[in-house]
Point group: C2
Chain length 180, copies 2
């Protein structure tokens, strides 16, 4: 499908078909495409942990949901979680981050996350990007070293949610002159 | 084109056809699609300044290139610059950023930048994402308030560069078990 259709039909899916696994070849393709994403100085400052084991998914889901708040219970349903860990950038991007006071790896992780979601959409799969979770507990569950950050968890699976209309007001975000 | 082709053929273009402007309807389409990008709590914490005026492009290009280092001289050639300014998020995303010690707007800006580049590619246009520039000088040139940050400048135009092979080693970035 063309990019406009892809962008318009990609949504945050918060309900998945538990009975339908993600085909390995689709998962491979999504990851392969995602990692063509650009990054500052081509540093690709991340690793992606693919979680498919049922027991581990339950542990990840416990870290990303909050019983008390009734938040994100759908994370247990997703047959795949893609957990994005921040890794050190290369020398030039790290120097750039310090000199320019911008943490380029976080921008780069936003870019790769969007590639994952769009590549998944092309394969008929739904995704939801989660940034709110118990990070230290999740690091322990996944064996991620203490000196790393887990930035995002992306749920992946066949969505059972109907397509929603996008609630965005695009052009108020665009300034077409230099009068900010 | 399908997303795989789009991702594989999108590259950082550092040479543009000065004589070929970007059609207004293409620019509108790119911005409209870009702003369907997801963001934490749907905050869309950014504004996009569209720079097309020749005098202003020269000023922007002076901020993004470095004569001494021979860096980024191509920025003068691009007929359009899309400058992404960080704006305050909404209440929930701001609380989330503080509690979880993650600056969600930077991730969100990565996502919207990738949508811009991919939408442009679909229209046959080239882009380059720049994060290294004289931010204070650029803010002054564009009338951006002092209390804002300019995160990225994206050059947009018809590229004169041939397609390059991607130098990525994707699968070393993927960890398929829980043994990090």
């Amino acid at each position: 499908m063309d990019f406009e259709t892809l962008a318009l039909t990609r949504q945050s899916d918060r309900a998945y078909d538990r009975t339908r696994p993600v085909e390995p070849e689709k998962l491979d393709k999504i990851l392969r495409i995602a990692l063509t994403a650009p990054s500052a100085c081509n540093a690709q400052p991340y690793k992606i942990i693919v979680v498919q084991d049922e027991k581990l998914i339950n542990e990840v889901a416990d870290c990303t949901s909050a019983k008390a708040l009734g938040m994100n219970h759908f994370t247990k349903q997703a047959p795949v979680h893609l957990v994005i860990v921040e890794e050190p950038g290369n020398l030039t991007s790290s120097i750039g981050s310090v000199i320019k006071d911008k943490h380029f790896p976080w921008i780069d992780i936003g870019i790769v996350a969007s590639y994952i979601c769009l590549a998944a959409r092309e394969e008929g799969l739904g995704t939801c990007i989660l940034g709110w979770f118990q990070e230290e507990r999740l690091k322990k569950a996944l064996g991620v070293p203490k000196n790393r950050r887990i930035l995002l968890d992306i749920t992946l699976g066949y969505s059972t949610q109907p397509l929603r209309e996008k609630k965005r007001k695009p052009f108020e975000k665009v300034v077409t002159t230099n009068k900010y």
